[in-house]
Symmetry: C2
């Protein structure tokens, strides 16, 4: 039996495979021109089927944001995984179990005491941990300063376990021009390359020089000295990425399918069954040139049949939709299906355990699972 | 083997059963003084174990926000369930299946066409749907105006399927004084009672008069004419509810257990492994007297060992903690466990599939599941 969008229970998550594959091809081309490996960050998609598409023809492995993801992708056959959030000692047993199972798991730290704990864990357990030292390239989130003594202290504590360096230019999301993104990309590159050189200067191999965010991976002018990049959200795109020039409206591959559950013509508003649970409370576009509330409302075909309508309010299971122009209430009976393009697809997708996959049309060609939690 | 908080993988969700039971007792007492039934809204807890405690000694059934919840609680033995979000025709088959399985499921509409569709579905399928008509008491979200002709049209379309009326004073969350909450509670009561009287005036039974939100259920001066109330978040409390006077800091029963994953003493900041995924992007307290960022950071015992420290930024798996006073970095090694009290516990809890239950202390006495999704 063919399942169509109009038959699905709402709310649910729709993934357009055609758009996904176009987004993958654009990033692959952008990264190849630098001759570095693409290690896609699966924190957005959290799906083995998506990871298989994203790594087809690539040799760089994948990146994950939780050990639950690492374990899920390992069970799905992925053997080269970077867990790109700083490790704590209590998580080393799980990391070691993955390595023992044949996964080349890399972990991350920026902390001398943790580096010592990793080395001690390796000695005591026989685990051959591989560790990237995290440096800060201007995001001021995690990672130590490139020029700090701590960098060398962490490297020395790790010794042969030190596989290289990583950094993350999350501040590229604050950029509002191509020139600004290029500048952040260069700062990201320089931080990673410099940190690797410092570690090599004390005799460490530090072969891996890992950078990456979607804006910097797309727009870097040079990745000289870098070995891999780790963009993630490029696969799906969202309203925020489009606003900052990392994608186009046509590239948004993931939408929420919802039903009209109420009509308020006197207020030029209607309600849908996609509220805060279905969309998340992410308001990324509040800081972008255009604010889309909790998401842009599209018709069931993904078109702009409702003009500039956005989800203005999001209660737990109610999304309240408004628009600057009169809404077509003759096409908005209770039960009518709409789609919502999300502000920040990482957060929205995390509310679901599966994707309903289409290929441009309204036929559901597959259901792909996701891994959530930790 | 005894599991202690210090042994749990982070991030995870901690539920203090002692605090939960105190919160339940307070609401039970508040509602009993009016002689109305308590029909707790399980949209916050989404847990059968919590529902059993919340309904112990009560006869009012439960409220849910999704059909997935209705099906979960039905499977757990609950037989009196109000699905309090407006139904769409495509969901009537699932509703009918629940009724056929012996669940007294009530559904909701405010739409004449949907009312007609429900009646037609009942005729065609033999389903004996029970329907509450939703009216607006000032929230301006869902529900029709009490004095509207539409109210009677919906009632007539439903005929004997019309079991009564419901309304939701969600705008009580905007109140910043007891007097304001009392006024909203009276508007909520009056809207429901008036709507029921109008339906009765055209010969409908309309026996159910259902109201409810945590602030109005706690603070209503009169519920004359009301038959039941549907508060939900009172069970757990959160920073926002405390700010609006619906709870106390000591009543917050749910926290996120997290680990320190990074230290930035020069900036008086540290990082935890509870970011936007673990806390949600909810910023409810941004509109409250005090803004707690993405949550208030407590020590592992739930105490204020870190003063006024809050999660200032929330990236996907990184929470960035800052404080107005110098942080005690000697007690903040990487791996140190902390707890985070959430802004809005409905949203935070939804990121998890289980609760680790404690009874005031650090021993995990049980693990209770949750139902998420739709």
């Amino acid at each position: 039996m063919i399942n169509r969008l109009a038959d699905l229970p709402t709310p649910c998550l729709i993934l357009d495979r055609d758009k996904l594959e176009r987004n993958l091809a654009i990033m692959s081309t952008a990264v190849r021109r630098h001759g570095v490996a693409l290690r896609p960050h699966m924190k957005t998609a959290k799906s083995a089927e998506v990871a298989r598409l994203a790594t087809a023809g690539e040799a760089g492995g994948i990146t994950v944001s939780t050990l639950a993801e690492a374990e899920y992708f390992a069970a799905e056959g992925f053997r080269d995984i970077l867990y790109a959030v700083a490790i704590v000692p209590a998580k080393l047993d799980r990391a070691a179990a993955l390595r023992r199972s044949g996964v080349d798991l890399e972990i991350v730290t920026d902390d001398p005491a943790t580096a010592a704990a990793i080395a001690a864990h390796a000695s005591a357990s026989g685990a051959d941990h591989r560790v990237l030292v995290e440096v800060d390239c201007g995001e001021h989130r995690s990672g130590m300063a490139v020029e700090s003594e701590t960098l060398l202290a962490v490297g020395r504590a790790l010794g042969p376990l030190c596989a290289g360096v990583m950094t993350h230019a999350g501040h590229s999301y604050d950029c509002r021009s191509l020139a600004a993104i290029e500048a952040v990309a260069e700062a990201e590159r320089l931080a990673a390359v410099t940190a690797a050189a410092r570690l090599r200067s004390i005799g460490l191999a530090a072969a891996v020089v890992s950078v990456g965010s979607t804006p910097t991976a797309l727009h870097a002018r040079s990745l000289a000295g870098v070995t891999e990049t780790r963009p993630g959200v490029y696969m799906f795109q969202d309203l925020f990425q489009v606003q900052i020039g990392s994608g186009t409206p046509e590239g948004m591959a993931v939408t929420v399918l919802a039903s009209v559950i109420g009509r308020r013509p006197a207020e030029n508003r209607f309600l849908i069954d996609a509220g805060a649970m279905a969309l998340s409370k992410d308001r990324s576009t509040a800081a972008a040139p255009r604010d889309f509330g909790f998401g842009l409302v599209l018709d069931i075909d993904g078109g702009r049949g409702f003009g500039e309508a956005v989800v203005e309010r999001a209660n737990q299971e109610h999304g309240i939709v408004g628009a600057p122009e009169p809404l077509p209430f003759d096409r908005l009976a209770v039960g009518t299906r709409v789609r919502v393009a999300p502000n920040h697809v990482c957060m929205t997708a995390a509310q679901y355990d599966r994707y309903h996959v289409v290929e441009g049309g309204d036929e559901v060609v597959a259901v792909w699972d996701r891994v959530n939690g930790w």
